[in-house]
């Protein structure tokens, strides 16, 4: 089955296997920011945005992406840099493995919620695991960033 896969506004004619997941397709196409963590829908490291919604790409069948807009960190370089500045200012940029998925989750949060409370930020990002940071600094960084904006 041929699909029109749209990644970061670029169109690709793509022939996914019936059981191929988006993470595999994106990495094959060169979007190496998309990382595989648990591979069981539990860590959020593979998060991307499809048609404006945050999804774990390890569990989203590529065949279902025909004509859908997929967004990865490569598609939002300015925004990613902006978020990273606030994260590093809090000293919570460590191994960085979770960062691309985390940035996509923060981007989705900003698309969905205006002026979120700390509780709402924590709730929204609860599905994005980080083995290094301990989360508090990340949450502080995001709250500060959203206050500045």
């Amino acid at each position: 089955m041929k699909i029109n896969l749209i990644v970061n506004h670029n169109h690709y004619d793509y022939y996914p296997r019936p059981d191929e997941y988006l993470i595999e397709s994106l990495r094959k196409l060169g979007f190496q920011s998309v990382k595989k963590g648990c591979d069981t829908t539990s860590c959020g490291v593979c998060s991307v945005i499809v048609d404006g919604q945050l999804v774990p790409s390890c569990s989203y069948l590529t065949s279902r992406c025909d004509q859908k807009e997929v967004l990865t960190v490569e598609g939002i370089p300015e925004e990613a840099r902006h978020i990273a500045e606030f994260i590093t200012a809090e000293g919570v940029d460590q191994c960085g493995f979770c960062s691309p998925g985390h940035v996509m989750a923060i981007h989705a949060l900003k698309l969905e919620l205006k002026n979120p409370t700390m509780e709402e930020i924590k709730h929204y990002l609860a599905g994005n695991m980080c083995r290094c940071s301990g989360y508090e600094g990340q949450h502080r960084a995001i709250k500060k960033m959203m206050e500045v904006e």
């Binding site: 089955m1 945050l54 999804v55 569990s59 065949s63 599905g127």
Partner: protein
């Protein structure tokens, strides 16, 4: 999960035909639990364009089977207990994909939303089998594969949900839902059961005295009973009762 092909049928009749004619053909909901299975499917049937993902609010509330758990969490016209029941099901990304249809059809004993639907005495509408009560389906399942179209129930005057998870996004060790004066308890770890005409002025110990709990790797039956009593007391408190000492 392995699959030989994925099809997008042009009608529900065609989808059903494929479903029953092939032993290992299956309907795709959000696909999250299918993904975790070590099964080889001949055909994955993607009916997302044929099934509803709409929530209709009235005296009777109906929810299309493709509605995401995230939409159920954020639709504040739904009974509060239903919003609460899905709130901590994994992360936002998972809730964006997981559907109410996949949760109900799977009859997962740990399910947080299924306990609420048992309390609400929901009715399920299937393509071939027609209307079946959630309580009956939960106990007996179906004899043949079918396509779940919608879930409906009468809007309750009061509803609430509570659970206990060791980690914020973990599976529940126990979950409870109240709809008017019906109490349902799930993740016991067996399938949810319900008690009707509950007198919430009684103590949780009394209310739960006949309820059976079980043990698994997550916790013993004694631990589950203790958690259930504590969470029931919390629920009763939100209803304006107990908590004197």
């Amino acid at each position: 999960m392995k699959a030989d092909r994925i099809v997008k049928p042009s009608s529900l009749e065609q989808a059903y035909e494929i479903l029953i004619s092939e032993k290992s053909a299956t309907i795709l909901g959000g696909g999250l639990f299918l993904r975790l299975q070590k099964k080889h499917f001949t055909t994955l049937i993607d009916c997302s364009h044929l099934l509803s993902s709409e929530i209709l609010i009235g005296d009777v509330i109906s929810i299309g089977s493709m509605t995401s758990l995230r939409d159920i969490e954020t639709n504040l016209s739904l009974p509060k207990g239903l919003n609460q029941s899905v709130k901590q099901i994994s992360g936002v990304g998972v809730r964006n994909l997981a559907t109410i249809g996949g949760s109900v059809y799977g009859r997962y004993p740990f399910s947080d939303i299924n306990t609420m639907l048992v309390a609400l005495d929901a009715t399920l509408t299937f393509f071939n089998s027609g209307k079946i009560s959630m309580r009956k389906y939960n106990e007996e399942g179906l004899k043949e594969k079918d396509i779940l179209l919608e879930i409906s129930f009468r809007a309750p005057q009061f509803s609430a949900s509570a659970f206990y998870k060791k980690v914020y996004t973990d599976f529940s060790l126990i979950n409870l839902s109240v709809s008017n004066n019906t109490l349902a308890i799930g993740a016991r770890p067996m399938r949810p059961i319900y008690l009707e005409h509950v007198d919430f002025s009684k103590s949780p110990k009394e209310i739960l005295s006949e309820v059976e709990f079980g043990s698994d790797f997550k916790g013993s039956k004694e631990y589950r009973r203790a958690l259930c009593e504590a969470r029931l007391e919390d629920l009763i408190y939100t209803m304006g009762g107990h908590h004197e000492n």
